[in-house]
């Protein structure tokens, strides 16, 4: 048994949970933001990022559909 591999995966699970928690803290610190509807058009860069997320989601199960860009999550 490759115990080194197993331990590395276990560490990755812990690390990703910590990263997620850090991300949540960061997002919470930003608070809610708002802007005029017309102005909120997504930038190309943001669209590209959403597209990459959507591509990831396409490989897994769909949880919901985001209204602002039709992204399936």
């Amino acid at each position: 048994m490759d115990t080194g591999f197993i331990e590395a995966v276990e560490r990755d699970i812990v690390r990703s949970e910590e990263s997620l928690a850090e991300l949540e803290r960061h997002a919470a610190s930003l608070g809610e933001l708002s802007a005029p509807d017309e102005a909120i058009a997504l930038t190309e860069e943001l669209r590209e990022l959403f597209g990459r997320l959507e591509a990831i989601q396409a490989r897994g199960e769909v949880v919901a559909v985001l209204p602002i860009c039709g992204m399936r999550i």
């Binding site: 048994m1 699970i13 997620l20 802007a35 005029p36 990831i56």
Partner: protein, 198 residues
């Protein structure tokens, strides 16, 4: 205030998307937080981590099966030339029994090894007691060893395939986390810029 999809369809808020809403009033505004990205990341990371946990358990089981089969092979290899004595026959059957006993009842490898012990045609059939039929030819031993080796290869191959899938899923998880962080940053920059201009 009416919550709805950007396309205009009525939206019943859900925990996942309630942070995104279009507010209808004189100056229609879109108000949202980065919660939906967090929800996405949480859902995907949680899903992948749960999957990883199951895969690790399978790899641990494979490692145990591999160890048992290697031990059995080492014992059988000592009699690879075949034999015609009760003592050698007993040792081989004991090694087989030990291997079976070390595996949990639900293990497919255990069931496969049990057939070597239980099948009437098997040279290591456990019913061959009392000095009867203790002769096992070199060819028969080679066939038994080959069968165990094939099981071992199958177990090791499965474990290697699992590791490849795990690496792929970890890469996907990292990509999700990186993208989520970048999107949150971008949204913040985008909205902040709009707020500063207005």
């Amino acid at each position: 205030m009416i919550d709805k999809f950007a396309g205009g369809a009525a939206l019943k808020p859900t925990p996942l998307i309630s942070s995104i809403r279009i507010v209808e009033n004189e100056d229609t505004r879109t108000s949202f937080s980065t919660n939906f990205v967090i929800e996405f990341a949480r859902a995907r990371v949680g899903h992948i981590n749960a999957w990883l946990g199951r895969q690790l358990e399978a790899i641990r089981n494979s490692g145990r099966d591999s160890q048992v089969l290697n031990d059995l092979l080492a014992s059988l290899a000592q009699h690879s030339e075949g034999f015609d004595d009760a003592e050698s026959h007993k040792k081989c059957k004991q090694a087989l029994k030990r291997a079976i006993d070390e595996l949990p009842s639900g293990s497919p490898i255990r069931a496969q090894l049990a057939s070597l012990r239980d099948d009437d045609g098997s040279p290591l059939n456990d019913n061959n007691e009392g000095g009867r039929d203790t002769k096992v030819s070199k060819a028969d031993m080679a066939a038994i060893i080959k069968e165990v080796e094939n099981k071992l290869k199958s177990v090791d191959r499965g474990s290697q395939e699992s590791q490849l899938m795990i690496n792929s899923k970890i890469a996907e998880k990292n990509e999700v986390l990186q993208l989520a962080a970048m999107i949150i940053q971008q949204i913040h920059a985008c909205i902040s810029g709009i707020q500063q201009r207005s």
